[in-house]
């Protein structure tokens, strides 16, 4: 038997104060990022903010400073460039257009073809999104996150107990906010794909939490001599090997996506990667300790009685 971690006996409950402070900071950061996003001050992708993104391929490389001055001269204001080394690809992002002008890609292709006559250009992809769509997507994303939260609380409350549901929901909410905060700090573009990753990792982190809770429930039934804290600690320790293995295989798959999946998937995979780490952390140090704090403050016996 090749044990990953062997038999462990880590006191997770005892470390809860440090974890709560650390997570509190993460949540604050997440809230800050959320407000910035809501006010439109964060690095919002064009699917939320409106604008255009055009991927231009050329036979020969184009200098970015030249490209920038060319576009600025022709009335394209807030332009961002991204180069793909060795591929002669240029990603041009134009943000926050007041009204969608239509045919932006065609206009830019024309401008470049005129300016560099000896170079051949081709539009590989382009997207233009009007601000009204962005507003709707923002609203949809918030509704989606809220709905999945409610769904999760209801399911766990149904399967376990209301307290478990709330604790799991807080931990999941913590994960979403924490990852959002980290993404914001890394100055990654917040796109629809990132929101998708956030919801996916909500599901992932929840599975982790559920596995721990499941064991807590089971142990509460048979170990009635131990204190609530001891039961929680040994439960986490018992499933530690599983959490670690699942985290490891998931991380491997996500790393493969991150490295080989291409540019579109890059930030998506990064978000998932951060999310898996944070999600694993929160099921150990946040979800279960919340259950402990809540359960013990109201006479732990109550909780245990329910499962006898």
């Amino acid at each position: 038997m090749l044990e990953v971690l062997g038999k462990t006996n880590i006191d997770f409950i005892e470390k809860r104060h440090i974890a709560f402070v650390f997570s509190g900071l993460l949540i604050l950061l997440g809230f800050f990022a959320f407000i910035q996003i809501y006010m439109g001050k964060a690095n919002l992708g064009i699917d939320f903010a409106g604008g255009a993104a055009i991927q231009l391929k050329s036979d020969r490389p184009v200098r970015i400073d030249e490209a920038r001055s060319l576009l600025e001269k022709n009335g394209f204001g807030d332009v961002e460039f991204q180069e793909f080394p060795g591929a002669n690809r240029l990603l041009i992002r134009i943000k926050k257009q007041e009204a969608i002008q239509g045919r932006t890609a065609e206009k830019i292709l024309e401008l470049f073809s005129d300016q560099y006559r000896e170079n051949k250009f081709q539009i590989e992809s382009s997207s233009e999104i009007g601000p009204t769509i962005g507003k709707k997507l923002q609203k949809d994303a918030i509704v989606a996150v809220t709905l999945s939260m409610i769904g999760i609380i209801l399911y766990i409350a149904f399967r376990f107990e209301f307290k478990f549901g709330i604790a799991a929901a807080i931990a999941t909410f913590h994960d979403i906010l924490a990852v959002l905060g980290v993404i914001y700090i890394l100055d990654k573009e917040i796109t629809l794909l990132i929101i998708t990753a956030l919801l996916t990792l909500a599901g992932y982190s929840l599975s982790d939490t559920v596995v721990v809770f499941d064991r807590i429930r089971e142990n509460l039934k048979k170990r009635n001599k131990e204190t609530f804290g001891q039961v929680i600690n040994s439960s986490i320790n018992q499933v530690l090997g599983r959490t670690f293995m699942t985290g490891l295989t998931s991380i491997l798959a996500v790393i493969a996506l991150y490295i080989f999946g291409g540019d579109v998937i890059h930030d998506f995979a990064l978000t998932l990667l951060i999310g898996i780490i944070v999600g694993t952390y929160s099921s150990w140090f946040i979800a279960s300790p919340i259950l402990f704090v809540w359960g013990s403050s109201r006479r732990e016996g109550l909780l245990k009685k329910a499962y006898r």
């Binding site: 629809l192 996916t200 992932y204």
Partner: protein
């Protein structure tokens, strides 16, 4: 032999077979299959999303208010004629708001006559009746009806145009109240298609005003972009019932665009909705033009208009731009006319399509436009597949190292998982997108979770000294509820993503939820069979786990 091993094995084999049959059309091997196979067995396979296949995705917004304004505008012109016929003297009539018409009448006694207008125009109600001014307003229900029908009609017209343009498997749908989603996969000239779809294509024939003194003051040519300025400059001099429209002139050598202003009478003499046909023709100098044929009502009207206005100029106007303003030399019977302009053959062709399919009831605005070139999609698929293969190898290696023989059984479950997932995607004729591929890869990483849960349980049971067979059964039993719980929670989020996501995100949600569901089957039924089978061959003293 333990009960049911055979049945379960056959069932698994059957699911694999069905998956392969469903997925086969998406593989290169499909073209070697016999004809009866292609006819009677599934032949659709997996759809590739626009992001993988290339094409355009447009969301159009129908400017419904404009449709209402158009109706009100036209009603105002009709009211003017109506009052003329009844010999009621008024000073002016114009649209004064989105749904309002204001009529100025200084002659005494006209007030009551004017307010009788609502009898002839029952869609309008009297809003204000003052000395000298009467204001009519369009009924709210009618405005609503116009808006509703504008979107429906726009959808129909656009579908017509796309059909005639020739696109395979287009998707044209209404979304929300006034939005239309259009997906054109694999299209070659996206710019041209967008131009055709977005054209309002309102064709009008209007007379030039050749009596106003203004025509001598208008500059013969102005630079492009100065239209607004020119209109403002002469604003006060434009006679009631006239407007200034422009003709676009392109210099063939330099490509420079200049505009020629025309003073045009607002009243539409003949309009494009009376057409039966529009075709491209090539003239003697190899120039393309569009010949149009009116229906019988249109032909009669055209005949009458030309007969009454010989020697005057008739402007041909498309979407508010003058194309030409030829002189009517003689009465034109037979209901045929030509639209000339500096067209390329493609432009003339697209114009003919737009005229045949009819005008949009209101202008449309493109509010979302995603175009993906075909090469990029191919790259994405290749990258997705290599990421998938590498991810799978890594997961396989880890499982084999940590769980030995049991790990190999889990790998068998993983393979089963992938085959069934692809088969299910094909069976549902689902659309695979780039995030969808990511979803599959993520499923690969997460799918071993159930087996890890089971294996860790079995290990615990073994540590307590249970015999192998009992440990395996207990491991599966005890892990079962945990596995259900953790899968359902993932499914909840996937479901929400499916409900709220569009396009690529929906693809992700589909792969993820299918992956999770199938995983439940493969890990609980799939691996258990293998354990039971091995166990039935010989009594296991020790388990390689």
């Amino acid at each position: 032999m333990k009960k049911g091993i055979k049945t379960r094995s056959y069932f698994i084999a059957l699911t694999v077979l069905v998956s392969i049959v469903f997925f086969l059309p998406s593989t290169p091997a499909y073209k070697y299959m016999p004809q009866w196979w292609k006819t009677y067995l599934p032949n659709k396979g997996i759809n590739l999303g626009l992001d993988l296949r290339g094409g355009i995705h447009l969301v159009l917004e129908v400017e419904e208010e404009k449709a209402v304004e158009n109706v009100v505008e036209r009603a105002a012109i009709n009211m003017k004629e109506y009052l003329n016929e009844k010999k009621v003297q008024i000073d002016s009539i114009r649209r004064s708001g989105p749904t309002e018409i204001s009529i100025m009448h200084s002659q005494p006694g006209t007030k009551d006559e004017v307010s009788k207008l609502t009898e002839g125009f029952p869609n309008f109600t009297l809003k204000e009746k003052k000395e000298g001014e009467t204001i009519l307003v369009l009924r709210e229900g009618e405005a609503k009806r116009i808006k509703e029908s504008a979107s429906a009609q726009a959808l129909e017209t656009i579908r017509n145009r796309i059909d005639q343009y020739g696109v395979t498997e287009p998707l044209i749908q209404r979304q929300a109240e006034n939005q239309i989603v259009i997906q054109l996969p694999g299209i070659k000239e996206p710019g041209r298609a967008k131009e055709l779809i977005g054209k309002t294509a309102i064709l009008e024939f209007k007379l030039l005003d050749e009596e106003s003194p203004l025509i001598n003051q208008l500059p013969p040519l102005i630079p492009s972009g100065d239209e607004e300025k020119t209109i403002n400059e002469f604003k006060d001099k434009i006679p009631d019932g006239d407007e200034i429209l422009f003709d676009k002139i392109v210099n063939a050598e330099t490509g420079k665009v200049i505009k020629r202003p025309y003073l045009v009478k607002k009243r539409t003499m003949v309009s494009g909705d009376l057409l039966t046909d529009a075709r491209v023709s090539i003239g003697e100098f190899n120039e393309a033009f569009v010949s149009i044929t009116f229906d019988s009502a249109g032909a009669k009207l055209f005949d009458m208009v030309t007969a009454e206005n010989v020697n005057k100029h008739l402007a041909i106007i498309l979407d508010g731009n003058v194309y030409s303003a030829p002189r009517i030399n003689e009465r034109i019977s037979g209901g045929k006319a030509q639209i000339t302009g500096n067209f390329t053959t493609n432009e003339a062709n697209d114009l003919a399509i737009a005229l045949r399919a009819g005008a949009l009831p209101a202008p449309v605005r493109i509010i979302q436009d995603v175009t993906v070139g075909p090469t990029l999609g191919g790259d994405s698929i290749r990258m997705g597949i290599s990421a998938g293969i590498i991810g799978t190898i890594a997961v396989i290696a880890i499982m084999a190292i940590f769980y030995r023989l049991s790990g190999v059984i889990a790998i068998f479950a993983l393979g089963l998982n992938i085959i069934l997932l692809i088969g299910a995607l094909a069976a549902l004729n689902a659309t695979l997108t780039l995030p969808g591929i990511a979803g599959i890869i993520l499923t690969i990483g997460m799918s071993v979770d159930s087996n890890v849960l089971i294996f860790e349980r079995i290990r615990e049971e073994l540590r307590q000294g249970k015999p192998v067979r009992l440990a395996i059964d207990a491991g599966y039993d005890k892990a079962f509820l945990t596995i259900i719980d953790s899968h359902v929670t993932t499914l909840i989020t996937a479901l929400v993503l499916f409900l709220f996501g569009t396009g690529p995100i929906k693809g992700f949600a589909v792969s993820l939820s299918l992956g999770v569901t199938i995983n439940l089957f493969t890990s609980i039924v799939g691996t258990k069979v293998v354990f039971d089978f091995i166990n039935s061959l010989r009594r296991m003293e020790r388990l390689s786990i």
